[in-house]
Symmetry: C2
Subunit: 189 residues, 2 copies
DNA sequence: CACCTTAACGCGAAGATCTGGCTTCAACGG
DNA sequence: CCGTTGAAGCCAGATCTTCGCGTTAAGGTG
């Protein structure tokens, strides 16, 4: 299924995976997403198409894998020394990333994989980890009361994702900020 | 693109669309979703594959269309004579429908279509209409204060959809009920 | 009602993709 | 160093997808 739990993490398998993933990214940049096909990707990666079919099953699953990697945050959220500043800035940043044209495409691709691959949940875990980091820093500072991780996921992340995926209009940094403020207010701040 | 804005709504076009949609539903029930292919569907519908490719572009887009139809609510939400009862019952019902194995599949299929087809937003509109109905009834009864439609979408519908799509664990009727209660409390009830 | 316009369908051939069986390779363990 | 075994290569057949061209029928017009 998903290449994550590889029986043989080292050596050839890893090289093939890296090479195929790289081929996807290159070809997507060069010719656009619509032009991607398994044989094309395999040729660029220097493997045979049947290798790709065997490991990923189909193009969707492969794109889903690649998309999740692209959705992984590259850095920890900025530390502004204050929970409200941290959370609002992160929410705005998250919205900006995810609602961009490529961001939307990656999100959709990630969801496109079979549920069993766990790509969608990995995606959500990335966001949860970032939220935990922000809340953890606030706790260290002694800020209180703090909203729970799940409260932030439900009242900030979920509305943002919902609107990015199901709607197109009315997404602004102010909206993201408002969600962050509201969850803090709910927590009693 | 999407068959909705048909230049010629009546006659043959409509028959073809109905016949193809029916073929999808039949074959999905008979052989399962994984076995669906464009030529197979076309044969069952009594049309040529090229007709399907021309009208829908590819299998994904067709499945997305069919999925949206299946996600359309069949009836108005029950009237329990009270906003809290209406909203909690509707949230539980929505969760039950959408988190079932077929419900999840239809949701994912609906998202699978190109954003331009508007299938995803139509899907969200269905929920919004139901919420409007519930809130409208509460307004007629003179209940006050009422949460806004968008508040319900953000704090009830969005968390449910987020968890259905991105996670697998921890979805219970109690959770849905809690979301409904929370949005009412937020509105001051 | 006959005629015109044109979107949509049917057909078939060419090209591309997908599947499956079998062979070969190389990572890991003894 | 050698055996085991999961993964990759190769190739052929089946299936799917695209595309050009002719035909059909819906909707409009006089």
């Amino acid at each position: 299924m998903s290449p994550k739990p590889m029986a043989r993490p080292g050596g050839r398998s890893a090289r093939v995976q890296a090479s195929v993933h790289a081929a996807v990214r290159e070809l997507e940049a060069e010719r656009g997403r619509a032009a991607l096909t398994v044989p094309l990707i395999a040729a660029r990666a220097g493997v045979t198409p049947s290798t790709v079919y065997r490991r990923w099953g189909d193009l969707q699953e492969l794109l889903s894998d690649v998309a999740v990697e692209r959705l992984r945050p590259e850095a920890d959220p900025d530390d502004h020394g204050d929970l409200r500043a941290d959370l609002t800035a992160w929410a705005e940043h998250f919205l900006e990333e995810m609602s961009s044209t490529p961001g939307r495409a990656y999100l959709r691709d990630a969801l496109l994989g079979t549920p069993e691959s766990g790509n969608a949940s990995r995606c959500s875990d990335y966001a949860a980890d970032q939220v935990d980091l922000i809340l953890g820093r606030a706790a260290e500072r002694g800020e209180e009361p703090l909203p729970g991780r799940e409260a932030v996921m439900d009242h900030v992340v979920a509305p943002l994702l919902y609107r990015i995926l199901f709607r197109t209009e009315g997404l602004s940094p102010e909206y993201a900020r408002g969600l962050a403020d509201a969850v803090l207010k709910d927590a009693g701040r």
